[in-house]
């Protein structure tokens, strides 16, 4: 497998595909084309893609789109999906209202 840690390595130009308009991250409405272009902009890891585009940063925290984003990025980079680390899962695992998260009292 080719190393992808040298960010100047060329892996071909971005070529439009017919389904580039398909929404992949539904929470943040990010399309396949945007994800593919981000790779060509130098975003080579799922963490970078997430910070650059907000994929997986919405209410579902990437539980819906995570695997799809990974597949698209791996294909664009020409690496195996196993080479790509998932983005870090963050607490709380389900969105929680501030008034509940901030309340640490025992229930009566």
């Amino acid at each position: 497998m080719k190393e992808r840690n040298d960010r100047s390595v060329s892996f071909g130009a971005y070529l439009p595909e017919a389904d580039d308009g398909t929404i992949i991250c539904r929470c943040e409405e990010i399309t396949k084309g945007e994800i593919r272009r981000a790779v060509h902009d130098g975003m080579f890891t799922l963490t970078e893609i997430r910070r650059y585009l907000r994929t997986g940063m919405g209410l579902c925290q990437g539980q819906t789109c995570g695997a799809l984003v990974k597949r698209i990025v791996a294909k664009e980079l020409g690496v195996s999906q196993a080479e790509l680390e998932p983005a870090t899962s963050r607490a709380p695992m389900r969105p929680i209202e501030m008034r509940i998260l901030g309340n640490e009292r025992r229930e009566a």
Binding site: E48, R51, R54, L59, G102
Partner: protein, 375 residues
């Protein structure tokens, strides 16, 4: 590819990326080495996004003022992507007479340093931000402060520098800087050896052990701070917020989510297992802090929280300095949790230092040898 560059930057955070960009613009060949697999994975993408002048040490203030006047307003244009910079002012809030005293002291010192910041009443603060709790009785107000998106700003500098031909290598941990004929020249990583005529060390807290390989110590510690983010809210207000009691700080982002940072009081002793993990006490504590000032946000859902280390210099201002004993080495570390707002200015200054040009601003207050014993 050649392992030689005019300038080697150690650390692909916003300081390193900004420096690489300004150097590339001057026609320099630049190589950036990043330990993580991800660009800007340290404090650069984990901070609260403040682009503040108020609350700064007076030695650091000229850097902040310069950036806000000359670099931040045009940064999105210059880098070709939106870094979500807002210049809608900074409110530092107080609820008690003791708070107001703290704010008055800060305001007076900032005014003496030439910053336009003043005290306002609770009613005036509510005119600026109608969502505030009635318990707020006063605030300090700096109308030219603001905030930006740290993840996007860090990646925007990276993207633009990469377009200009800067070479970036990730997953490339630097072990040692080596002197050749008395001059810093070689950078040794786990896998490779690189050579540069100038070496800029901007690796956050890791700079300490790397600088030690050429006999230089930067007096700093590491502290783990936390930030959280809400689900998107309707557009409400875009001032940067802080409090006299340091309960929390934050702002609403372009996306609509609120980004809030804070602490539990145990930052110096929290267990971290060598990764920047969040602590179970902190997010809840930050929420309680926010709700005291913004009760209207109590139903807002917290979606995510994260932590990041700051490289806290012993006097809480950075080291931005050439090193007499090690010609060819420039230090840029110890940003002490407020490096993001001044990063464009610092990148510009470092590029000037590396090129041997006169710097736009004086950097003598940030010398590496300023640490003296107490007696």
């Amino acid at each position: 590819m050649s392992n030689h560059a005019d300038v080697i930057v150690i650390g692909g955070g916003i300081i390193g990326n900004a420096t690489a960009y300004y150097l590339a613009k001057k026609g320099c060949s630049v190589l950036v080495l990043e330990k993580s697999k991800h660009m800007g994975d340290g404090g650069s993408s984990r901070n609260g996004g403040g682009v503040r002048q108020s609350g700064r040490d007076k030695r650091e203030l000229p850097l902040a003022i310069y950036g806000v006047k000359n670099l931040w307003p045009n940064l999105s244009n210059e880098l070709g992507m939106d870094v979500e910079y807002y210049q809608e002012g900074n409110l530092r809030l107080g609820k008690t007479d003791a708070h107001i005293k703290i704010l008055e002291g800060l305001t007076q010192r900032a005014r003496e340093s030439g910053l336009d910041v003043n005290m306002i009443t609770g009613a005036q603060a509510k005119e600026i931000c109608p969502y505030l709790s009635d318990e707020v009785i006063g605030a300090s107000w700096c109308p030219t402060d603001g905030h930006a998106n740290p993840m996007l700003a860090t990646l925007a500098y990276y993207r633009k520098a990469r377009q200009l031909g800067v070479r970036f290598i990730t997953d490339e941990e630097v072990i040692e800087i080596r002197k050749i004929k008395g001059k810093a020249k070689q950078v040794v990583t786990k896998n490779n050896l690189y050579e540069g005529d100038t070496i800029i060390l901007a690796a956050g807290y890791d700079s300490r052990k790397i600088a030690a390989t050429v006999g230089v110590d930067v007096l700093m510690t590491q502290a783990l701070l936390e930030v959280l983010v809400t689900e998107a809210q309707p557009p409400m207000f875009y001032q940067m917020l802080g409090t006299a009691a340091a309960d929390f700080y934050g702002h609403q982002s372009t996306h609509g989510s609120f980004v809030f940072g804070g602490s539990s009081g145990y930052e110096g002793v929290n267990k971290d297992n060598s990764t920047p993990v969040t602590n179970s006490l902190t997010a809840s504590c930050i929420c309680r802090g926010i709700m005291k000032y913004f009760p209207c946000l109590e139903e807002a859902k917290i979606v995510r929280s994260w932590a990041g280390w700051i490289d806290d210099c012993v006097d809480h201002i950075p080291v931005i300095s050439k090193v007499e004993e090690v010609p060819g080495l420039i230090l840029a570390c110890g940003f002490s949790g407020h490096g993001f707002g001044i990063s464009p200015t610092v990148g510009m200054l470092l590029s000037q230092m590396a090129m041997g040009e006169e710097t736009t601003l004086d950097v003598k207050d940030f010398r590496y040898d300023r640490f003296k014993a107490k007696i």
